[in-house]
Amino acid sequence: MDTETMAAETRAKRPIRWHVGVFLAPAVLVYTAFMILPLFGTLQLSLFRNIEQSQVFVGLGNFRTLFGDPNWSVNFWNALRNNVWFFIIHMLVQNPIGILLAALLSSPRLRFTAFYRTAIFVPTILSFVIVGFAWKLILSPIWGVAPHLMDFVGLKSFFTPWLGKEQYALTALSLVSVWQFVGIPMMLIYAALLSIPDEVIEAAECDGVTGMAQFWKIKLPLILPSIGIISILTFVGNFNAFDLIYTAQGALAGPNYSTDILGTFLYRAFFGFQLQVGDPNMGAAIATIMFLIILAGVCVYLFLVQTRLRRYQF
């Protein structure tokens, strides 16, 4: 047999690889129908405006209103600022605590690891409605346990109705959200720590790198890619956040819009609230901006951070 017939046979053996298409089809169809089409629908909607009961193309008019009309722009910048603060708290509190917990959990001397892991992860699977409501009750100055608990340890004078004060409400809610989601960075980092090969650790020990130094010099660099992933997940999650604020503070995100984030701002614009009639076009414009913000953040991560992180991988 010569090579030509062999090549012909292999060609005959795999004619059209139709199964690739078949296997991809469900995911592609579902994703297109439920993610891509609505995304473009939103982009399209943001370019129109309802004038005299009919949709009229206005180009970037809605965006000009959003940024140029103080009635919209003041609220928009306020929401964006709050959202950035919301994100900063998560990055400064949630992720370091998550890493710390993971480091503690992966320590071989700790007992009841499975129990702690589960207990810390449970809030993550709770519904926002339950979390929002439970914390509203806990922090309630009238029936809440927080004032009593603080009284116990002599800190009663530090208690204030946090959720009702402009200067504290957003931070308080961010911390509630941190409490709820700290399980996710913990789990991811925990998995990353477990996947570090024993040889690396042993080699470090042979070189005399143990304890804290081992964590900072060996483990932390090795889990940096996971920390990167967590940061981007936190970023996307925070800039899409809505539920917690809505359940705890209502759609007006009081007091005085101090807890208004992009999600609640979008909700009020799109669906309206009380006597405010919803404006889907302006809502879509806000949604588009949110999409662009998140897209920009993800791009920064993918092109600037992740390319550098590769150096640390095996």
Binding site: N71, W72, I142, T160, G164, E166, P255, L275
Partner: protein, 419 residues
């Protein structure tokens, strides 16, 4: 999921509707409503009363969830499957339906002259020429107080503002009760039970409200700023941590007997009657000097209109005329204490608290909430901003003047009153 549920519901109602028709040769009228709570009242009291007098007409009350009502109704109207009778939200939401031609003009309906112009205003075109819903009920603002607490402390029901604050001072000095149960967390309490409650006495009810719409008065005028100044004075009388006190918190504080006075809307009566273990009384917002004319917020809340595409307009009109009659008003107002009939004929009610509220109509002048008609059409939305600013004023984060200025600036940015 939601659409599936909706389709199922729609299918369900259509099948039920047709079987009803097939069984009897009668004409069946369907009522669209968001008041699921009232289902038993309609089924057991109102509909039988109507059917007894009008043989050959069957009425079905088919409510949907309050939060889904507007969307579901819109979809049904567009699809032509909506009921013959439509429960109307006040002002712009219904006006929009009328403009789209979904609601029929019923200005000449027999029985419409049973209502005062203020009562009809919520369901009229801006020029007041066409009416499209029969007013059904309104809610009245005032203060509900704990009678036992007042007796124990030897307090008299205040009629003037000075007396009102003297009473609050005494309750505070005694310390047993929180003087006033209100929080600012949910924002709307501050605006609805606060600003819109005491405000009409300052801006003279309809006179001020109309002048505001015409552009003759501004929210920065003294009569609109003064209520904010009074609200700012409420702060020391509210409970500890009122900034984080929610609406249910306030209700519970009062019904548990821990607070003496509750700035209220009459819709609370039903709930309070079942929950509070003490005697309750009510008083209207105190006036400045004894003998001044008092004004109350008697806010039109719910009405009923005719689907322009109804197949049985004559029968539906008959039903609406009945809704406009004193008969309907008596049954409705007694079944739902706190939702007062807007009928000009006085309705006899059993509930003493409800009687007290409605008696103010005799001695005070009625008006509706200032922000509802026309003024909340633009961005920023005046009603929402009033919620936020009222809470700010009570929290002390905005001065009354600053709050009023913000509201007026917001209104000026889009509202140009017809000169």
């Amino acid at each position: 999921m939601k659409t599936k549920l909706l389709t199922a519901l729609l299918l369900g109602t259509s099948i039920l509707g047709t079987t009803g028709m097939a069984l009897a040769e009668d004409v069946t009228l369907n009522i669209e409503s968001w008041r699921g709570d009232d289902l038993t009242i309609w089924k057991d009291k109102l509909i039988p009363a109507f059917e007894a007098k009008n043989p050959g007409i069957k009425v079905v009350f088919a409510p949907s969830a309050p939060t889904e009502y507007d969307a579901a109704l819109g979809a049904k109207l567009a699809a032509g499957s909506a009921g013959d009778l439509i429960t109307c939200r006040p002002f712009d939401k219904s006006l929009e339906l009328f403009k789209k031609g979904n609601l029929a003009d019923i200005s000449s309906l027999p029985g419409m002259d049973n209502f005062s112009p203020v009562a009809k205003a919520a369901w009229q075109t801006d020029d007041g020429k066409s009416s499209f819903c029969v007013p059904m009920a309104s809610v009245i603002h005032g203060f509900i107080y704990n009678k036992d607490a007042f007796e124990k402390l030897g307090l008299k029901v205040p009629t003037t503002r000075d007396e009102f604050f003297a009473v609050l001072d005494k309750i505070k000095a005694d310390g047993t009760y929180i003087p006033m149960a209100m929080g600012t967390k949910d924002l709307w309490e501050a605006a609805t039970m606060g600003y819109q409650n005491i405000g009409p006495n300052y801006w003279k009810g309809e006179e001020g409200r109309q002048a505001l719409i015409k552009g003759e008065q501004k929210l920065t005028d003294p009569q609109w700023v003064e209520p904010y100044k009074e609200l700012a004075k409420w702060k020391p009388y509210l409970g500890d941590g009122f900034e984080a006190q929610t609406y249910p918190d306030s209700q519970n504080l009062f019904t548990l007997g821990r607070a003496a006075i509750y700035p209220a809307g009459s819709w609370e009566i039903g709930l309070f009657n079942t929950q509070a273990q003490f005697k309750m009384g009510a008083f209207p917002p105190p006036v400045q000097k004894a003998g001044d004319t008092c004004y109350i917020s008697d806010h039109t809340d719910i009405g009923m209109g005719l689907n322009a595409a109804s197949k049985h307009p004559e029968e539906a009109k008959k039903f609406l005329s009945w809704v406009a009659s004193p008969d309907f008003a008596t049954i409705y107002a007694n079944a739902l204490p706190g939702f007062f009939s807007l009928n000009s004929t006085p309705v006899k009610m059993e509930d003493p608290l409800a009687q007290e509220f409605v008696s103010w109509r005799g001695k005070c002048k009625s008006t509706i909430r200032s922000t509802y008609q026309i003024l909340s059409r633009g961005t920023p939305n005046l009603e929402n901003e009033t919620w936020v600013e009222s809470a700010n004023v009570i929290n002390g984060t905005d001065t009354p003047e600053a709050a009023a200025k913000k509201l007026q600036d917001g209104l000026d940015s889009w509202y140009k009153p017809a000169k």
